[in-house]
Symmetry: C2
């Protein structure tokens, strides 16, 4: 049986890593009059649909996709939400 | 009274808009052997801390920040989660 999963992946810079893009956005917001903005950190949000036999192997696959390609483990953290969107006994 | 809020903002391309970066990542994942990946869409994830008197005005302010700067309403959608992280009667 194959199941289709949708993952929502959040890739963020590690807290110790400087975020120049975030600083630029914060300064832009200040210039627009939003003086109360104290911190801005910018990351990536990835939605990904894939097929896997079960949730445990889906999580494992997703972890290795993040480590190998979607995030840079040296400077970034990631976390994800996983939902099953469809399951089917036949062929997709 | 001033309250400090943390917003988690998700900016995604509208479904009708092509996502070349997403297609490139999908193709990269296929080359790494993850053939079961069906769709990849890449967006932005922004964490932002700011001060506001109450939740309703915080939401309003955040909406206008997104419309003016954080998202491009022509091609992108956004949504956000808002949590209060601190409240204080004094001066921050």
């Amino acid at each position: 049986m194959k199941r289709k999963y949708q993952a929502k992946i959040f890739v963020t810079l590690r807290p110790s890593v400087l975020d120049p893009a975030g600083v630029a956005v914060q300064s832009g917001l200040h210039q627009l009059g939003y003086d109360d903005v104290e911190q801005v950190r910018i990351g990536k949000y990835i939605e990904l649909t894939f097929i896997s036999p079960d949730e445990s192997s889906a999580r494992q696959k997703l972890d290795s996709m993040c480590d190998q390609m979607l995030a840079n483990p040296v400077i970034e953290n990631y976390r994800f939400d996983l939902i099953e969107v469809e399951s089917q006994t036949g062929v997709f």
